[in-house]
């Protein structure tokens, strides 16, 4: 990784290296022809496009023929009962599933029209463009400052002023700055649950990603902390594309612009959140959001 003197993010190698024309389709040769998601994304640019995607844990298939398009600078939520594959799909978007042995992807997953699963892709560069916030807040057992500066440091940012500025910007972006500015060098584990989760968001912001993935970010938080995170998600979409997995349908309704409902590894329905919640086309979606099962 080249040492990058500027505090802003290094020119993305991902973008430089990928050329759409040379990218071959992944293993199975899904259905790239039907690539565009089942629904138009309005006038917005498509940030992530998934086409004919199947996912396997060893021999067990977890996702079946997923097709969807995530619009840029909007919040897209995935809902569905436990084990329906929504987190698995989320973790495919930054290839975190690579860490699990025996996983396999078929079909196409594209970021800005470029295949994520191309063998030439530098996975660490990809993960710098696609940040992630986890279900359980997982600040490293380091100081608050070191947590936020972790990503930039991994990219070779060494100058103190640059790190200071990135840290402040990120903490402000996550709405945490005022609460922690006087104890930046204390352990992050001393923060409350909600603060820890916002610290994790700040940590993800410090890498200056384009997309932020959130895997049930509020499931361990009380209503007040949840409310703050939801406000934060709402404000994040002006700069980032947000994909959020949630169990909480009210939350999905509150924060997201577009919503996908998953069941047993299939994408049952995908569309504008308002439409999904007021006028679902599929009976199963209606059953789920009205609480008849799940």
């Amino acid at each position: 990784m080249p040492v990058n003197p500027s505090p802003s993010f290094a020119p993305n190698k991902v973008r430089d290296r990928w050329t759409p024309s040379t990218v071959p389709t992944s293993t199975s040769g899904g259905e790239p022809a039907q690539a565009a998601g089942p629904l138009p994304t309005g006038n917005r640019e498509v940030k992530i496009r998934i086409a004919g995607m199947n996912f396997y844990y060893g021999t067990i298939q977890a996702l079946f023929n997923i097709n969807l398009a995530v619009p840029a600078n909007q919040v897209t939520s995935f809902i569905g009962p436990s084990g329906c594959g929504k987190s698995t799909l989320l973790r495919c978007l930054n290839r975190l599933n690579d860490l699990i042995e025996g996983t396999r992807v078929e079909g196409r997953v594209e970021l800005d029209g470029l295949s994520l699963y191309d063998p030439q892709v530098d996975v660490t560069d990809l993960r710098k463009r696609v940040g992630m916030v986890f279900q359980k807040s997982n600040p490293f057992p380091k100081s608050i400052y070191d947590n936020v500066a972790y990503g930039p440091r991994m990219q070779g940012v060494r100058e103190k002023e640059a790190l200071d500025r990135l840290t402040e910007e990120s903490l402000q972006g996550a709405g945490l700055w005022d609460e922690v500015k006087d104890r930046l060098h204390q352990s992050a584990t001393g923060l409350s649950g909600g603060q820890q989760q916002r610290l994790c968001i700040a940590r993800a912001l410090a890498v200056q990603p384009e997309v932020i993935l959130m895997d049930e970010p509020c499931s361990a938080l009380d209503p007040i902390a949840t409310g703050r995170i939801e406000e934060l998600i709402f404000s994040l979409k002006t700069r980032y594309t947000v994909v959020i997995v949630t169990h909480n349908m009210q939350q999905a309704a509150r924060v997201s612009d577009r919503c996908g409902f998953f069941l047993m590894g299939e994408l049952v329905e995908y569309g504008d959140t308002q439409t999904i919640f007021t006028n679902p086309r599929d009976q199963r979606t209606e059953d789920y959001i009205t609480g008849r099962f799940g």
């Binding site: 930054n94 975190l96 860490l99 042995e101 660490t124 560069d125 993960r127 710098k128 940040g131 992630m132 986890f134 359980k136 807040s137 997982n138 600040p139 490293f140 057992p141 972790y150 990503g151 991994m154 990219q155 352990s187 584990t189 820890q196 994790c200 940590r203 993800a204 890498v207």
Partner: protein
């Protein structure tokens, strides 16, 4: 108690709590008893006990310190329903009497007293001497008699000790240094002759070397002259002591370390003497086939060996564990390796000793000698036991402990941390380096603590790889290169065995065995305490909210 209440009692688990608690209590009791025994038997020897003068029924007198007393076996009779008693005295004067300890039957004692003028001399040879100071001589001529002799004695002994210290330093440092240089000159000359003929250049060098040799030999003679003078000075004074038999001996002060009259000492003075003796034991060098003097070289050797072992075992064990846990594909092969590692921890230590002797000493050491020190052959430099080989052997012995503990530490690092780091664009190596290893460090140090405790207590493998009963030099000193990894060393564990079972004067050695044991325990505890403190510091630093 009815059947149902018995059943309730059984179910409530109270009995089980009692059982477990008594298990803990029993263990504590055993440890406490062990420590108590060692301390009582060992720490008592430094106390300046009163000297008794005893008149026996057969008219003889005896001067000595009581050590212990017991009932004579098979001595029960109508007159003595509890059996007769006897007491063991240390009567010293081994050179004059031929024995050091003597049993005295209680029946045989006619009178017993502790007159103030009885003195005990701690000597460099032949153990203690008990008697009364009669006179002081300088080069054969009396200078003081009676009480005046005793009061003149203390400063003279101090002076003699200073002289001895100087002689020791000259012998040890300066003459040793000259000898070392002579030896290196000899080896360089030998190296010139390795190919059986001298070129012109080599002949010139050889002549140079020979000239330096002459200079050094001159230096040596000068030091030897100084030594002669000092020795004569040290032997100037003699003290005349009358023994219990009435016989008078002349004791040169150069042979005396200390003279005490414990009977006239009060409690505070005795405590001071006790502490001084304790310090001499910890900081001094052994004398008289290790049965007297101190044990400093053994403490030093033990700590040194454990430290070298730590330096060797840490990177090795942690690397192996990292590969096994983080990189290797988990499968039957890795499982097999893991089982093998676990079993390695159970291999008897002497097996490691034999391996160390065969592999490190003969193979590795022999090769090093052949490549780097050919001129010294057939005298081995590294091809013989030494502290390096002993430490490496112990590192092999303890590496399974470190691997197991490190693996456990690594697997205890939550997956959230790894994924969090990876998701921020860190590579696997960066994640391990910055997140996983710091979090696993307390676990790794726990392994190290266990390894150190095991290593410090091992004796068997050391006997094959470099421990000796008396090492002339410490492995670290002021001579270049300061750390001498090829040197043989002394070790507390081996010292216990040597003093206890190989010494000519078993009775005198007994308290030394207990004291050495106590010291070994203290050293192990101290080493562990340091490691535990470091670990706790790190734990605080890397405290995690994720449990």
């Amino acid at each position: 108690m009815t059947r149902s209440s018995l059943a309730t009692f059984w179910k409530s688990g109270d009995l089980f709590i009692w059982l477990t608690a008594s298990g803990v209590a029993l263990s504590l009791l055993m440890i406490g008893a062990l420590l108590g025994l060692i301390m009582v038997k060992g720490l008592g020897q430094f106390w300046p006990a009163d000297i008794l003068e005893i008149r026996l029924a057969d008219g003889r007198t005896l001067i000595g310190q009581p050590i212990n007393s017991e009932t004579i076996p098979h001595s029960k009779s109508p007159e003595h329903p509890d059996g007769k008693r006897r007491t063991r005295f240390r009567v010293g004067n081994q050179d004059a009497f031929g024995y050091d300890f003597k049993w005295v039957d209680a029946d045989a004692v006619v009178a017993q007293a502790a007159p103030f003028d009885l003195a005990v001399f701690e000597r460099r040879e032949w153990g203690p001497l008990y008697g009364r100071v009669r006179a002081l001589y300088r080069e054969g001529a009396p200078v003081a008699e009676g009480p005046a002799a005793w009061s003149a004695l203390a400063p003279l002994i101090e002076q003699a000790n200073r002289l001895h210290e100087r002689i020791h330093r000259i012998e040890h440092d300066e003459i040793d240094e000259i000898n070392r240089r002579l030896e290196s000159l000899r080896l360089r000359r030998q190296a010139l002759r390795l190919d059986d003929r001298l070129t012109e250049n080599e002949t010139a060098t050889d002549l140079d070397l020979q000239r330096s040799l002459v200079v050094l030999e001159e230096q040596y003679r000068r030091q030897a002259d100084i030594l002669d003078v000092l020795r004569r000075q040290a032997g100037e004074y003699e003290v005349a002591v009358s023994l219990s038999t009435g016989q008078e001996v002349r004791l040169p002060l150069s042979k005396v370390i200390a003279a005490l009259r414990p009977n006239e000492m009060d409690w505070s003075l005795k405590t001071l003497t006790y502490l001084r003796n304790l310090w001499k034991f910890v900081s001094g060098e052994p004398r008289e086939a290790n049965t007297e003097g101190g044990i400093f070289p053994t403490i030093f050797g033990t700590v040194m060996m454990v430290l070298i072992m730590t330096v060797a075992v840490m990177p090795f064990g942690v690397m192996a564990a990292l590969y096994l846990r983080e990189y290797a594909r988990q499968g039957p092969l890795v499982r097999l390796v893991r089982i093998a590692v676990h079993n390695l921890a159970g291999v008897p230590s002497i097996v490691f000793g034999v391996f160390g002797l065969g592999f490190f000493v003969y193979t590795v050491g022999g090769t090093i000698d052949a490549l780097l020190f050919p001129e010294a052959l057939p005298n081995p430099t590294y091809g013989t036991g030494g502290i390096l080989w002993a430490s490496l052997t112990l590192a092999l012995l303890t590496v399974p402990v470190v691997i197991v503990a490190t693996e456990e530490g690594l697997s205890a690092v939550p997956r959230d941390f790894r994924e969090g780091s990876i998701a921020l664009g860190a590579t696997k190596l960066e994640t391990i380096r910055h997140v996983v290893l710091p979090c696993a460090l307390p676990g790794i140090l726990t392994g190290l603590i266990l390894a150190m405790a095991r290593a410090a207590g091992e004796v068997a493998p050391l006997m094959l790889t470099g421990v000796v009963k008396l090492a002339p030099d410490l492995p670290v000193d002021g001579q270049f290169p300061f750390l001498h990894l090829d040197r043989k060393f002394m070790h507390l564990g081996f010292h216990i065995y040597d003093v206890g079972f190989q010494s000519p004067n078993v009775e005198a050695a007994k308290p030394m065995v207990y004291m050495t044991t106590l010291t070994l325990i203290v050293v192990v505890v101290l080493l562990n305490l340091v490691a535990v403190m470091i670990r706790n510091c790190l734990r605080k630093r890397y405290a995690t909210s994720a449990v």
